[in-house]
Amino acid sequence: MSTVNASGWRPEMGESDVKAAETFTGNRALMLEEALIFEIGDSHTTGVFLDPAPKVHPGRGGWELTGEIGLPGLSEPETVRHYTRLSRQNYAIDLGLFPLGSCTMKHNPRLNEKVARMKGFIDVHPLQPQETVQGALQVINELAFWLVDLTGMHGVAMSPKAGAHGELCGILAIKAALDARGEDRPVILVPESAHGTNPATAAFAGFSVENIPATPEGRVDVAALKARLGPDVAGVMITNPNTCGLFERDLKVISDAVHAAGGYVYCDGANFNAIVGRVRPGDLGVDAMHINLHKTFSTPHGGGGPGSGPVVLSEALAPYGPIPFVAKMPDGSFKLVEEEAAGEMHPETFGRMTAFHGQMGMFTRALAYIMSHGADGLRQVAEDAVLNANYVLRSLEGTLEAPFGASGPCMHEALFTDNGLAEGFSTLDVAKGLIDEGYHPMTVYFPLVVHGAMLVEPTETESKAALDQFIGALRSVANRAKQGDPSLKSAPHHAPRRRLDETLAARKPVLVWKEMELPVAAE
């Protein structure tokens, strides 16, 4: 009698030796192939029926469209089916554990979606008279207060559109503060374990970037950093908890040294989920930190955005933050401080970063999440996130090498390397093997400071049973990679697609659909 595991599967039964025939459609039962809209639609079909346009004398100025644009239309039933079929080729948090390190793929509560769609939020224009949008301004203001209090900072810039845009905001505030002091400090220091966006942001703002090495235990080398400080250093960009999943325990020491040398401390807040309610970055001397609302505060990732990256600022940098922002006035009303009021209320602002006021649709969702959890629940979020990560880290001891396992507990994510895999087997093979097990793989090959990195962030919204099954799956795949199981090299076998040829895609880029040219017969 074979053993049935928790999901009802008897692994040792194996597959039937009767091989299924290829299907006529290419479909495999519920796994449905779907053509492109350009192959199934045409320019005469539409799924939208409008009132007829009244007859008027056109006043377009002579630039009327004459040619064909080439946009196919689908009827509504075809549209619904097309996108429903496409959706089923995606992995998502709603389907299972999504342990993508540094991305904080937690459950996205549907209450957030419900409140964000209230007419009073979704159907208001950014330039409506302020007296007609007091409730929308209140949302921004309430969220701003939560973010300031949770981080122990002085102010917050709400308009940045995503994490990297928030980084830019923080770096611009630093540059504006230096300008105000009349100082030219051209260098930003970035630890080598940093997210790639950090050096890209600093370079974009005109700084030159210098790397600071990590210690063997996976933290910033404080001595090396201190040695590099000087009158040419504008500041440091540091991630805490860092991308090795460790708390930078010397951050306060670093901040004090940077401040003493006249620089500022930017903290990448991508990993704030590990410490929300347990530690305030303001208490560690941070001058600016972006908060990814789509990570810590549960707004959906949407297959690559939209995100939202408010930036909390210290007293030293807050005066330079962007416009517009929302102020609560003594009479209890809310004021959107734009160019006009900035002269009086925010004269040193570095200006606008985006056309309007930020990601309102993400603010409503994040605020609903924060209110649901409250101060007590958010603290529990951090604790459970850290507990889950440590449980994964220790449960896989003896299976995968944890390079900093001896450095003590990890924070919200557990880091492993490819050390010990069989000759010719890599982190990529483990990742693709996990796909066949029904999981989205962890973050791979990041951070760059260890070989073949595998960064696992389970988040707090996973149950112990879900973690146990994931640990079992990862252990099984890792063992196959250590034993050199050749079937792993060609995984995934059960996904909608096998391994895709990324080299071909980059060498001969096909970025838009073109009508297939019919083969021309040789004369």
Binding site: V48, L111, G196, K252, G303, P306, L504, L511
Partner: protein, 451 residues
């Protein structure tokens, strides 16, 4: 607690596996003086689903929703009717709760959608290629200016006075830090900026940036500017804040633009008080390796089946770090999906019908509003947005109209602070959601306010 599945029994068992006595042992690396010992004082504790909903309903009621009133605002954000299936489809968890498609074998849904989106945007703009979206139109605009600097290795951008003033502000913010020079001029309701643009293009110019239709709703031929720019080795960047217009007027690409960027909010996304929106970014094929942002490309899998992947990532920060073409990471995937679904529902026929209806309603509104004594039309040409010159300051008029429950446009005085000659300008957008009754209500209210 809601959203947290662990029980205390689980927690104890897991701590035992880890070998920690308590949860505090996992936070030992936090310096003692920075450890918070309990919930942060002064902040509310957790709330029930009903309590949260009640709070949000109360805040939502304080806002005047566009659908409930005659509504005429535009200036870079337009109210269009979004078919019900769009919002239904983007809420499928497989789209909503997926990540950036880093593992293409299990992200073909997002990737195929992005490939279709890129093709739709490229065709709409008359360009060869488009990327997988930017944050919004304003950030796409400054990314385009930065791209032109990389392509031409020059740093002077000539900016049309008809470019949305907030887009200009964003470009100014960035230029202050990148050291690029912006050649700017004041907006003039009496004439377009084309003559100055043509005379400003020289051998130092990286790009000319022109909005189409412009901030006042005027439509100008771009081909002369494109020609002059190309003669001097500069690029023409066209900015489209109302993509529906391109169902009625020629695309900027057809007129010779090298890079076309835009705000895609009009299709599928909605007003949302300014965000999230979706930046559109398209260009000529020869510049593709200098493009910012994510790109989706077609390829094959190990069995030869067609599939899609993110590609040309050697431009991007996770590979290039400080040498990347942009720092953009998360873009606007779900809004791109909404745009693409709406565009698929419309198709070419629907887009043209929608554009025709928008234009016709706008002409009706302009005809009616200019019957009011003292109100004149600024535009010689327009799509669904035009500028009126009122006999009085338009900012006051907007507030008085709001008091009469009419959302009657955007005053130029709000967009252009203290700029002489613009204070009486009122920007009026008229889309398919505006009925003839709405136009009449607006006209009567305006007449009363001006009386």
């Amino acid at each position: 607690m809601r959203y947290l599945p662990l029980t205390d029994t689980d927690r104890q068992a897991m701590l035992a596996t880890i070998g920690a006595a308590s949860i505090d042992d996992l936070f030992v690396d936090v310096p003692e003086e920075a450890r918070l010992t309990g919930p942060i004082p002064g902040l509310p504790m957790h709330a029930s689903e009903m309590a949260v909903e009640r709070h949000f309903s109360a805040m939502a009621r304080k806002n005047m929703a566009a659908a409930h009133h005659p509504f005429f605002l535009g200036a870079g954000a337009y109210k269009h009717h979004v078919p019900a299936s769009v919002d239904h489809l983007i809420q499928r968890g497989e789209f909503l709760t997926a990540y950036t498609p880093y593992q293409p074998e299990i992200a073909q849904g997002t990737l195929q959608m992005l490939f279709e989106f890129q093709t739709q945007v490229a065709r709409l703009f008359g360009c060869d290629v488009a990327n997988a979206s930017m944050y919004d139109g304003s950030t796409a605009c400054w990314e385009a200016i930065g791209m032109a600097v990389r392509v031409t290795k020059r740093s002077k951008a000539v900016i049309s006075s008809g470019l949305h003033p907030h887009y200009v502000s964003v470009a100014k913010t960035m230029a202050r830090f990148t050291g690029d020079t912006l050649d700017l001029a004041a907006l003039d309701m009496a004439q377009s900026d084309n003559a100055r643009l043509l005379s400003s293009i020289d051998g130092e110019t990286s790009c000319v940036v022109v909005q189409y239709p412009d901030i006042l709703g005027r439509i100008e031929d771009l081909s002369a500017i494109a020609q002059k720019a190309h003669e001097h080795g500069a690029l023409l960047i066209a900015v489209v804040t109302e993509p529906v217009a391109l169902g009625a007027i020629k695309s900027p690409g057809e007129m010779g633009a090298d890079i076309v960027v835009g705000e895609g909010q009009s299709l599928g996304v909605g007003l949302q008080f300014g965000g999230p929106y979706v930046g559109l970014f398209a260009c000529k094929e020869k510049f593709v390796r200098q493009m910012p942002g994510r790109l989706c490309g077609q390829t094959v899998d190990a069995e030869g089946k067609r599939g899609f992947v993110l590609t040309l990532s050697t431009r991007e920060h996770h590979i290039r770090r400080e040498k990347a073409t942009s720092n953009i990471c998360t873009n606007s995937g779900l809004c791109a999906l909404a745009f693409s679904i709406h565009m698929s529902l419309l198709g070419e026929r629907g887009l043209r019908e929608l554009a025709a209806l928008n234009h016709a309603r706008a002409v009706q509104a302009a005809d009616r509003l200019t019957q009011i004594p003292g109100v004149t039309l600024v535009n010689d040409s327009s799509f669904n947005e035009f500028t009126l010159k009122l006999p009085v300051n338009a900012r006051d008029v907007v507030h008085k109209l709001a008091a009469k429950r009419v959302l009657g446009g955007v005053s130029l005085g709000r967009l252009y602070l203290d700029q002489a000659g613009l204070e009486n300008g009122l920007l009026v957008a008229v889309t398919e959601v505006v009925s003839e009754e709405d136009i009449e209500t607006f006209a009567s209210a305006l007449q009363e306010v001006l009386a």
